[in-house]
């Protein structure tokens, strides 16, 4: 599974980090950091994060 964030859309709201802290986190400056290749066990969490993103910047590729 590959997680892709369109950084031209991302506004650092951090909703993904709330939904799936094991894949996404906000650093001390409030900027997004994420794991682009999380294990298959994190698919559901990553999909929740993609769903909740206010600007729909996250896609999950197989």
């Amino acid at each position: 599974m590959k997680v892709v964030v369109d950084l031209t859309l991302c506004q650092d709201h951090g909703q993904c980090a709330i939904a799936a802290p094991e894949v996404f986190r906000m650093n001390g400056e409030g900027r997004l950091e994420y794991d682009g290749s999380p294990g298959e066990g994190r698919r559901e969490a990553a999909e929740d994060a993609a769903d909740v993103c206010p600007v729909q910047a996250i896609t999950i590729e197989d």
Partner: protein
Amino acid sequence: MGQSTAASASAPYFDISDPAFSVQSEEVRRARESGWYARTNYGIAVLRHDEVGRLLKHPLLAQGSARWPAHHGITSGPFAAWWANWVLNKEGEDHRRLRRLLNPAFSRRLVDPLVPRFQALAAELIGAFREPDRCEFMGEFAEPYAARVIAIMLGLPEEHWPELARTSATIGLAMGVTIRADLPRIEAALDDLYGYTDELIAARRRDPRDDFVTRLAQAQHEQDRLSPEELRDSLVLLVFGGFDTTRNQLGLAMRAFLDHPDQWRLLGERPELGRAAVEEVMRTAPTTTWVTREAREDFAFEGLDIAAGTTVHLFAESAGTDPLSVPDGRFDITAERPPHFGFGGGAHHCLGHFVARADMSEALPLLARHLRDPRPGGEQRWLPLSGNTGPVTLPVAFTPRSVPPTGSKGAPA
């Protein structure tokens, strides 16, 4: 509050508690030209797009409304308890847990199937205007539309909408400075809504449906679920947070298009511009004119020392119309625009924005198609132009279309 923030004494000063204060005033425009912030009677006001965007998501700022009732001497009782349980007023892990449980029910993929019902509702309301060539936009459209969208979301009979509107408006008194005097009415309305939501939750538990309330009642994250209190508080929040804001924002949209008839005509011809129209209206005329945060600890930002406890008012309208971010200064539903802050942002970003975006972007093009050449049709009354704003009454005269409205897009003109 904020006394120790080292705001320059030469920075502009606003009394934002004065009902005559307007976020759209010349004094705010002038202050935005001279710097990124102003001093206020409590805390600082942030005026420019770049700084509002960064502070809205700043890790050292917490949501600033948790202590609002306490500021007015309300520290116990049903209202104080509801306020404290409200997801907006939670922080840290308590907040993240509630958002994880609530967010999935508000996702776009669950909202999109409701679009045909939003279209049918808009068409029904337009078809029911009392007069063929004029309407009181707030009473005949914005209010019933906003309230019936809530009824649709909750799976309640739509004819119950006046009850939802009334109780929601009464709870809205809690956002005003007369909260203490209004408390008995507010608590009675809260009690009415609790009665409603308790019945609804019990009904869905007995007889689950493929709907929003069932999804919330069954919401689960790992082993965690919403408690019965959290569930009812969240449904009350949906009514309260979704109704006033949508009604006011629709009124602000109509008002904006009265000033821009060419844009209205274009929207009627190209309904696919509905989404962009909502964004452009919320950039230039958001109902939530500012969003409040509070400093968790001392920090420096752009040369300003902000002390722990300082209230930071982020002016959404001023940021949206900042010439540094939108130099052309036009209202244009076809232009590429930077993000607006009408739904707040960061961890507390509006939970219901997919619903609001979907319902308003259906309503506006349908209105544009049927209310041709709209113009002010009588005396308007307005909420104060600060805090949460919008028209109270907005009479509109227009040229009717000969074909009655239908909910489907692309019907022949």
